[in-house]
C-alpha cells in the first residue's frame, strides 16, 4: 500500500478519478467521469448549470460518496482515506460558505481555530489574510454587509487559512463585476504560484481560457471534451461567421453559397435572415462573402466571432447551452 501510494505520488497527480457516478433519483448527475489533474496546475470544469460540475467537485471533496467509480487525491483513496484527504484539500462553494452574521475577522478566526491554531495564532493568521485580501477595513463588519466581491474574497481567504494542496473553487466569479473578477483571478494565480493545485468550475469560456491549463467540458454528467483551451477552440473551429441578409427571400441561395464555399453546415435563425456557420478556416470567409456579393445577395451585417461557450456546446453536443434544461428533460 505504501509503495503504491508512493508510486502514485511520484506520478504527480493531484487527482486521479475513474468512472465517477452519482445518481439522484432518476437523474444521473455525474455519469462516468474520468479525470487526471497534474499537481500544481489549474484545471477547469466548463459547463452550464446542472451539467454535473458541482456534484463532481463535491464527490472529490469527500462531501458526497460516489455511487460507483473511485478517485485518488494525492494518492489517497477517496472512499477509505477521507481524513487524509481532508487535511490536504479546501473547498470554496458556489455561495459564500461563511457565517454571514459574523464579522470577517470572526469568520477567519473560527476557521483558523478549526484548523488547529491556538487563539493567538488564529488572530494573527486572520489579520494576515484580511490584509492580504484588502479587507482590513471591513474586518469588523458582518459579512452580510459585504459586497459580492468582498464575500468572494473572504470566502477564498477562509479556504486558504492553511494553504491547501488542492483547492476546489466552485464558480468563483459568477455574479461578480469585472473588477472583482480580476481580483479573484489574481488570487487564484498567486495561489498556483505558491504551489496549490486548483480545480475550478465555470460557465464562462473566457475564465477557463484565462486561468486553466486544461479544461474539461461537462455535459449531462459526462466529460464530452478535454484539453487545453486552444485544443478545445480548434475542435470547434476557428470562429463563427454570422451573416444577416437584407431579404429573407434570398435565404436558400445564400445558404447554398455559404455551405459550398465554407464547406460546413449553415444554421438559420427563426427570422430567416440570420445565418451562422462554424468556420474551420477563417481565410475562407472573405471568399464566401465575395461570392455572396457576386451573386448580388444583399447583406445587412456580418461578423466573425471567436468561439464562445455557447458555440463549444453547439458544436460538441449539437445543442445550445441555454437550451440545456429542456434537453435534459427530454432525454430522461
Amino acid at each position: 500500500m505504501d509503495n503504491e501510494q508512493l508510486k502514485r505520488q511520484t506520478n504527480g497527480w493531484a487527482v486521479e478519478a475513474k468512472g465517477l457516478v452519482k445518481v439522484y433519483g432518476k437523474e444521473r448527475a455525474v455519469d462516468g467521469v474520468d479525470l487526471v489533474i497534474p499537481q500544481g496546475t489549474v484545471y477547469g470544469f466548463l459547463g452550464p448549470n446542472g451539467a454535473g460540475k458541482t456534484t463532481t467537485i463535491r464527490m472529490l471533496a469527500t462531501l458526497v460518496q460516489p455511487d460507483s467509480g473511485n478517485a485518488y487525491i494525492f494518492g489517497h483513496d477517496l472512499k477509505k482515506e477521507s481524513a487524509a484527504i481532508k487535511s490536504r484539500i479546501s473547498l470554496t462553494g458556489q455561495y459564500a460558505s461563511i457565517d454571514e452574521d459574523l464579522t470577517g475577522i470572526e469568520n477567519l478566526v473560527l476557521i483558523s481555530k478549526l484548523m488547529g491554531y491556538t487563539s493567538k495564532q488564529a488572530k494573527k493568521r486572520a489579520m494576515e489574510l484580511l490584509a492580504a485580501f484588502g479587507l482590513e477595513n471591513a474586518a469588523k463588519r458582518q459579512v452580510k454587509n459585504y459586497s459580492g466581491g468582498m464575500r468572494r474574497r473572504i470566502d477564498i481567504a477562509a479556504s486558504i487559512v492553511v494553504t491547501p494542496d488542492l483547492l476546489f473553487l466552485d464558480e468563483p466569479t459568477t455574479g461578480l463585476d469585472p473588477r472583482s473578477r480580476n481580483q479573484v483571478w489574481d488570487i487564484i494565480r498567486a495561489l498556483v504560484k505558491a504551489g496549490t493545485t486548483v480545480l475550478l468550475t465555470t460557465q464562462n469560456l473566457e475564465e477557463a481560457d484565462q486561468l486553466a491549463d486544461r479544461i474539461a467540458v461537462i455535459h449531462q454528467g459526462k466529460i464530452i471534451a478535454e484539453g487545453t483551451s486552444s485544443e478545445l477552440k480548434a475542435s470547434v473551429g476557428s470562429g463563427i461567421l454570422n451573416v444577416q441578409l437584407l431579404h429573407a427571400a434570398e435565404e436558400k441561395r445564400a445558404i447554398a453559397i455559404l455551405e459550398k464555399k465554407l464547406g460546413v453546415p449553415v444554421h438559420v435563425a427563426s427570422d430567416a435572415i440570420s445565418l451562422s456557420a462554424q468556420v474551420q478556416d477563417s481565410s475562407l470567409v472573405a471568399e464566401a462573402l465575395g461570392e455572396l456579393a457576386r451573386e448580388q445577395i444583399a447583406i445587412n451585417d456580418f461578423s466573425l466571432g471567436r468561439p464562445s461557450l455557447d458555440r463549444v456546446f453547439l458544436t460538441l453536443t449539437g445543442q445550445s447551452a441555454d437550451e440545456q434544461p429542456n434537453v435534459e428533460e427530454g432525454n430522461l
Binding site: 439522484y24 433519483g25 448527475a29 496546475t41 489549474v42 458541482t54 463535491r58 471533496a61 469527500t62 462531501l63 458526497v64 460518496q65 481524513a83 481532508k86 487535511s87 484539500i89 479546501s90 473547498l91 462553494g93 458556489q94 455561495y95 459564500a96 460558505s97 461563511i98 457565517d99 454571514e100 452574521d101 459574523l102 464579522t103 473560527l110 476557521i111 481555530k113 478549526l114 484548523m115 488547529g116 491554531y117 494576515e128 489574510l129 490584509a131 492580504a132 485580501f133 484588502g134 458582518q142 477562509a158 479556504s159 486558504i160 487559512v161 492553511v162 494553504t163 480580476n182 481580483q183 483571478w185 489574481d186 488570487i187 494565480r189 498567486a190 481560457d209 484565462q210 491549463d213 486552444s230
Partner: protein
Amino acid sequence: MSIRLEHDNSTQEEDVHPLNAIASGRRPDPPNAFASTMAFAQRALLRIKHVPEQMFDVTVFPIIFLLMFTYLFGGAIAGSTGEYLQFLLPGILVMTVSQITIYMGIDLNNDIRKGIFDRFRTLPIWLPSALVGALLVDVIRYSLASAIMIGLGLLLGFRPEGGAIGVFGAVLVILLFSFSFSWIWTAAGIVMRSEKSLMMMSFMIIFPLTFVSNVFVDRCPRFDARQRHVGADRLGGCSVRCFCSDFRAADDVFVSEQRVTSGSSSIKRAVIVESIYQHTKKAPEENTFTK
C-alpha cells in the same frame, strides 16, 4: 500555461496583494474534539452577540406566556390565579423550552443551505462538534429561560413544594429532555427543504402536543383530589408529567426518542446525520438557494 495580464494595468492601489499571506507555513495539527467543540460554541455565542433578537425566545416570550395564561385563564381553569400558577408553571416551563429546541434545527438547516456546513465537513475536525458546540450554548439558553420563568413565578407567588432541590432537579430533567428533543429538529433540519417548512412542521407537532398534554389543564377528571396527593413531588413530577404521565402517545414518542439519543453516542448520531445528508435528493444549495 497562458496567463494574460492585460488587466493588471488597470489595477489601483487598494488592489489585493495576496502573495504575501498565501503560504501559511507549517500546517498545525488538527484540533482535538474539545477544541473544535469550543470553537463552535464560541461561534454560537458570537451569533447571539450579533443577532441579539434571537434571545427574545428565551427572555420575553416565557414572561408573556406565563403572565397571559396565569391571569387570562387562571381564574377560569382553576378557580384562582394563584392556584393555577402553582399548576401551570412547571408545564409552561417545559412548553417554552421545547419550543426553543426548534432553533437548533433551523440553524443547522441554514448552515447546510448556505453552504457553510460543506466547509465544516471538509475540515479535518471531529464533525459532531459543530452540533455539540451549538448545543452547549443552547443549554445556556434553556437554563436562562428556566431561570427567568421560575424567578418570575416566585415573584408572582409560585411556591414549589419540592424546594430548591426539587426545582434544580426539574430544570435538569428539562435540560435532558430538550437536549433529546432537539435531535428531532436536527434530523429534520437536514432533510427539510427550507427554514419555513421546518418551522411549519415543528409547530404542527409541538402545538397540538402541548395542548392535548396536561401543560394547561389536567385532563384527569379527579384534578383536585390528585393535586392534593401529589403534593411534595409536584415540580419535579410536573415537568415530566405533562409529556409522560397522561398523554400516552406523546409519552411513547418522547421516551423512545430519549432512548435513542441517550443510548447512542454522538458519533453514531453523526453517522445518522451523515447518511441522511448523503441520501437527500440533491446538494442542498443546488435546489433551494434563491439568491
